[in-house]
């Protein structure tokens, strides 16, 4: 892909724009459609219903149908809302989610930007969405929205910490922040003298993985952590005043960030684009790698949505207490244990 583009001798920024458009089209259309269908069918079967089945074969064009429908809806700005901030919030939330995909390694050469501080960048960018949510809640001039926005911000910052601290364990073990290096360490590592399946960090960082998944669930404001959008108390929380395509943008951002966190979890703990038996540096990995990563992402998002439909909602105070008194101390202990083991062996 790169060489074909380079043949035209374009300026760097032109190439980047082309690649950005290409990747976004590739992520949003096919991958988005597949993931959306998979998740909606799965959710439906868990609730004993059929799910999307009208639009296209087996309901596969449901996402396009949704966009086509929502785009025709009237765009309402409440009279008292802070118009500029109200319009700005969806941009921030969507951009924050899509920027996560920039740093992900999809294959040995299939990447967008190779950042030395890969995982640190991902964590930093993904937490910007908290600002977008807070802005949305504030700008709506609605009591439900404000309460929802504050709850969401409180929850996002409380669970940002366990997530970041769980990642530190992986970084200690890999000795690098670079996501490529983290994948390589998993592919070339060995555990108890066995090396054929490498050392996916889920084996040695099981505690970290569990904390990361719980924190992901909370960052996505999915049940059992969905107090910010608790529909029986707050209508839809910070999204209450949004209508039409702006509402859908928040919704798409939520699903895209489920996918983004799925990919990050797969890269950090499940071996990334690599599978046992494949050569992670070979050329064919540029094609196979993204598919492997997509498969692992579907697996992780399956767990996220499985939990979503299994457990009832926490109370707001239980949520904060769970993060501060259990997850964060546990994550700190995990870091210390990893440090000691890393130095000892």
């Amino acid at each position: 892909m790169t060489s074909a583009v380079l043949a035209f001798e374009m300026a760097y920024w032109q190439q980047s724009v082309l690649r950005s458009v290409g990747v976004l089209a590739a992520v949003l259309l096919p991958a988005g459609t597949i993931v959306y269908l998979f998740l909606f069918k799965m959710m439906s079967f868990m609730q004993s219903r059929l799910g999307p089945n009208e639009a296209g074969p087996y309901g596969s064009l449901q996402l396009l149908a949704e966009v086509g429908k929502w785009i025709q809806k009237e765009d309402i700005f409440p009279a008292k809302a802070d118009r500029k901030l109200f319009a700005m919030a969806p941009y921030i939330v969507v951009a924050s989610v899509l920027l996560v995909y920039v740093a992900v390694p999809f294959g040995p050469d299939a990447w967008f930007a190779r950042l030395d501080t890969g995982i640190f960048y991902v964590l930093a960018v993904s937490s910007i969405s908290a600002i977008g949510v807070l802005i949305a809640g504030w700008a709506s001039a609605n009591k439900y929205s404000l309460i929802g926005g504050l709850r969401a911000a409180g929850q996002l910052i409380a669970y940002e910490l366990p997530m970041v601290l769980a990642v530190v364990g992986v970084v200690v073990q890999a000795g690098s922040l670079d996501l490529f290096e983290i994948v390589r360490m998993q592919a070339e590592g060995e555990i108890f003298g066995l090396s054929w399946f490498g050392n996916p960090f889920i084996l040695t960082q099981m505690v970290g993985f569990v904390i990361f998944m719980i924190a992901t669930q909370a960052e996505l404001t999915q049940p059992p952590f969905d107090m910010p959008v608790a529909e029986s108390e707050l209508v839809t929380g910070y999204m209450t005043e949004y209508s039409g395509i702006r509402f859908l943008l928040f919704f798409i951002a939520e699903f895209a960030s489920a996918g983004a966190f799925g990919i990050i979890a797969a890269t950090l703990f499940l071996g990334g684009y690599w599978l046992p038996g494949l050569d992670m540096h070979a050329d064919y990995m540029n094609v196979v790698g993204p598919l492997v990563l997509l498969g692992k992402m579907l697996f992780v998002t399956f767990i996220i949505f499985w939990v979503r439909f299994t457990y009832p909602r926490f109370r707001e105070d239980q949520l904060q207490k769970f993060a501060w008194t259990l997850l964060i101390p546990l994550a700190l202990v995990n870091i210390l244990a990893t440090m000691v083991l890393k130095v000892a062996f």
Binding site: A113, L115, G154
Partner: protein, 121 residues
């Protein structure tokens, strides 16, 4: 241009394209969607009842305390990352120093616990 600047330029361009995409979708919508504003439509939605008072009400102070606690641990995480990449090089001295660092900061949680900040009445 160095590789570092180059990769962050990519990030910047990607961000700009993402924002442009949202703008394009919203712009496309403006050709398709109706626009018939009426005063009733523009009232804040509070489950069908006319809103009482301002939307910008005072809120729970606790969130502010959580934000303060967050700053403590977020700064801690920022210091942990550079150490984490070089854990092996620093050996036991590093483990001891970081254990002390984490230990001192963990006292903030204990203090918050003791002051019952985490319990909602």
């Amino acid at each position: 241009m160095s590789d570092l600047l180059r990769s962050y330029l990519t990030v910047f361009i990607f961000g700009a394209v993402a924002v442009g995409l949202v703008g394009a979708v919203l712009g496309l919508g403006s050709f398709l969607r109706p626009k018939r504003p009426r005063p009733e439509k523009l009232i804040a939605y509070e489950s069908g009842v006319d809103p009482v008072g301002e939307g910008w009400t005072q809120a729970e102070i606790r969130y502010y305390i959580f934000a303060l606690l967050f700053v403590v641990f977020d700064v801690e995480a920022v210091f942990l990352f550079p150490y984490a990449t070089r854990a092996e090089a620093y050996g036991w001295y590093g483990v001891g120093a970081m254990a002390l660092f984490i230990g001192i900061l963990t006292l903030t949680i204990l203090e918050a616990w003791r002051k019952k900040v985490l319990r909602w009445s």
